[in-house]
């Protein structure tokens, strides 16, 4: 295995630091992703469930990428 780079170590530290005792997984995140995106774009507060979506996005780069694109779609007026 190649040596772990400084950037990878930074990523690992960030992931470990952002880890919560209870987390939702990708499937559960997907259920609430649309509501999360709409509320976040509208500047509305997030309830407890949607806060867990935010926590999940902090540790899951793939769901984060999908959320970024969903926001792009909504912002484009589609």
């Amino acid at each position: 295995m190649k040596p772990v780079t400084k950037e990878q170590l930074a990523g690992l530290a960030s992931l470990v630091g952002a880890t919560r005792e209870q987390e939702i997984n990708c499937s559960e995140c997907a259920v609430f992703a649309a509501e999360f995106a709409e509320r976040q774009l509208a500047g509305l507060p997030l309830d407890e469930t949607l806060a867990k979506v935010e926590d999940h996005l902090a540790v899951c780069p793939e769901c984060r990428e999908e959320m970024l694109l969903l926001r792009r779609v909504l912002e484009s007026g589609n």
């Binding site: 990878q8 530290a13 992931l15 997984n25 997907a30 969903l70 007026g77």
Partner: protein, 212 residues
Amino acid sequence: MAVWALAASIRRIVTEERDWPQALRAADNAPVVEELRVVLLNGLRAALSGRGDVGEAHLEDFTQDALVRIFAKLDEFQGRSKFTTWAHSIAINVALTELRRKRWRDVSLDQFLEDGRHFAEAVDESAPADGEEEREHLVRKLKRAIAEKLSVKQRAIIAAALEGQPFDQTVALLGTNRNAAYKLLHDARRTLKDALTAEGISEETIRTSFAS
């Protein structure tokens, strides 16, 4: 508000007055399916604009696959958001899952687990720490926790994540499902966090030590 943005808002309001799930379930649903197809296609075009590896034919394929998925999941729509937002989220997942598949590395389960066995050794506690004492202390403890607290599979799944390996490939290599693989990864992260905090390293320090 710009005219185009106003028009887009009005279009969305008008569109959302319709009960999409009911219209899609109707026997004569062809016009509404076509309308949804165009909505999804335009959404994917906006989402994936600027990507050199995505052409119009890909967008059409992703849209068709998304329509199939949306019909399969129609009963799961809870009305917590606009229907079109929910549908866009599914279309984006369909498209990115397919695009990530193209990034799958040529790696076997043996190689995946071998990386796990040697993951701790691959962490050099001094080189990436720039001689900064707090950071070096954190990396030293992290390396020790990886070596002593994690299983080979847990080390392998973290190593794969750091390498940017698509999660679906990790799931396939492990012969499991996404939720079980996510639990494995979550347990590994939680174990490392517990080990570090037991050493007196705060959550804030863990998160921010590499920030600058």
